[in-house]
Every structure is written in C-alpha cells, then in structure tokens.
Amino acid sequence: MTQPVLNKDAALVIKGLTKHYPIPKQRALRVALNDLTLSVDGGQIFGFLGPNGAGKTTTIKMLLGFIRPTSGDAWLFGKHITDDNSREKVGYVPEQPYFPKFLTALETVRAHGVLSNLSGREAAIRADKALEQVNLFDFRYSPLSKLSKGQTQRVALASALIGDPTLLILDEPSSGLDPVGRKELRDLLQQLKTQGKTIFLSSHLLSEMESVCDQVGVLALGKLVACGRPSEIVQARDQVAVEIEQAKQDDVLAKHVADWGGEIEQSSAGSPRLLVPSARLDALINLIQQGHGRLLAVTPQRETLEDAFLRLVS
C-alpha cells in the first residue's frame, strides 16, 4: 500500500506512530502499532476499521496522551499530542464510558464542561443543550447508577459535545445502542459534519461505516493496509445476479452458466440465483425467455466494505 499523502493543515496528522510492548518473561516485543501514517482533513468523517487487536484503541490512546508512542508523532490541529492544550477542541467518547455513579447526568456533563475550559455559568447553560442534543434532557437529574448502558453512552456523548469540539474521537460509539439509538447516532453524526466538525470513529459495524464515512482506514496487525474513500477500497465486481423461477431443474441453463465461468446458488427464497459475468447478461436473458424459466430479478454485484475488510485483513 502506498503511504497516504499528509496534509499538514489537517485536523489530525499521524506520522510514523509506533507502539511496542515488551512481552513478559521473553526478550521480545509485541508490535501493537507499526509505523502508522495518515491525516484526516477537517469536516470529514473518518472511519478507523480493523479486527480485534489491530491497534485501533492503541492509536486512540496515544492521540489522547493515555500512553506514549515508542516512536513517531501526531498532531491535533497543529499541536503535538504531548501538549495538553492539543485536546482543547477534542471530544472523546470511549467504548465503555465510566463516570462516578453518584453524580447525576447534568452534574457529569457540567463538570466536563468546566474541564473543557468553560466557565461554570457557560458550562451550566451548555450542559442542558448538550443533553437535549442526545435526547437525554428528561433524565438530567437521574444519578448515573440509575441509567441504562445506552443512556450512559449518551451522557458520554453529551460530555464530549459540551466543549463544542472541532474533532470528535469515538471508540465504538454504537456499542450498547439499540437500532433506534444507532439511527439517531448516524443522524447526529451527519448533523455534526454539516456543522463543520471532524469525526474520527472506530467501529465494527461496517455497513454503518460505509454509509456514514467519507474516508476509511483499515488496520490489520498494527499496520495500515488500506486508506481512502470506501468506493476506492471496495473492488468492483464484473458480475450480475439473476434470480429466476423454474418448474424443474434445467441442465441447458446450468451448462451455459458453467461455460461462462459463473455459478448457481440458492437465494433466500429458495429460487435459483445465477451469477454470471455482466457481458453475458443479454445472452442469459434470451435463454430464459426461450422457456428455461421465469425472470424474477437482476442485481448488479459489488463488493461491500465488509467483503473488502475481510479480504484485506485475511
């Protein structure tokens, strides 16, 4: 894979970021992240994909200063990650947010507002708005011990949004959310994008990433194996799927499909599904119209992001 071109004015710039961990009782190092280089332009939604143990959370932890890189650098809005002020306009939602249980939702969000360099009064005003934005205003006086996992996730999101961050870093934001919650999250992310915010999110829900992200980066075993638009990463398939209805099995049709290099599979409805090269579509339709079945559907075949992901990390 060719190294992505770094935009020095980008919201997030990562250059050669590497993290090694010593393996206990062995004179060896475990490579958690290996020479990661990428940049995320402002106003984009960047999806960070990878299987478990690929190095996604390690990357995020280094960006936020929780752990130190073995080598390499990163900048948030031009400020080096070792500068505490680099996180001034950054909002972070961890995969599993934990807060002191005795605080209410409002107190938690307000406290994070002050930690985001807001005054007490400003934090109080914005806390209400942030909780409204995540549909948790009615539960603002509930202690966190009484909230569900999904509601706690929303409190975390509100805490991240209260400082009006320009960059949002979300680690598996959909985990713990029901389908309605996920839809609301997708809508919220699009709304934040229209406000000019940059979003850097890691997720396993690839179907959602495909519809939401402008750019994606795929990590495998600590290395960046692909980076670009989803349409650039998925490979085009020169195939169509033709679903037909047949009274009985037709050997003529099967022979032609085999000669063309295609295959026959069963659809979910139990009817035959013929996968053939796009160039043979007209010939196949003529055959079907000659009495070899009834045409039900024609669907162009393309690689999904999930297919591309599995191909890249295998």
Binding site: K8, V13, D73, W75, G78, H80, T82, D83
Partner: protein, 100 residues
Amino acid sequence: MYSARHVKAMTILAISVLISMSGVSMPTFTTLSTSRAEASSPPVQLDPDGDDPREDTTYHWQLPGFASDEHRQTAGAFAIIVFLAASGAARRAVMRRKLP
C-alpha cells in the same frame, strides 16, 4: 541552540540548588516561652541535677525542637519543586518546537 525558555529554566534551577547547598541555618528553637507570672518571679535556684524545682517532675514536657534539619529539608524540598517545574517546562518547550 538553547531557547530563552531553556536558559531561564536552567538559571532558576541553578539558583535553587545553590540556596539548598548553602546550608541555610536558623537559630534552633528550644523550649517554650515562660508565662508572664514566671517571667516576673525572681531567679530560680536549680537543684543539683540542673532541673527547675518548680517543674512538675511527674509530667515533664518540652516543645518539639525545630532544628536546622527542618530548615535544610524545607530548602531541599523547595529545590526539588523548582527542579521538577523547570524540567517539565523545558520538556514542553522542546515538544512545542516539533512541527508537523
């Protein structure tokens, strides 16, 4: 090669080390001060052991002495604070110079 911040940090460090090494010595506080009644009373004859016979021999106390050790510790602790602050500031100054 060194920025003004580095020079300032090192100067503060050097001054603090010099102060702590000069062995700041202060007079040692010994026992407690006497009350007004005792101060106005005539001089007391000490007994052969050197003790004040007016003192309660069954419950003998003394104000804990604040010796020069504590002053030296105070200066040393202050030097450590300044050293850590200066080294932290110097490290942050070096990191800020790294440009993307």
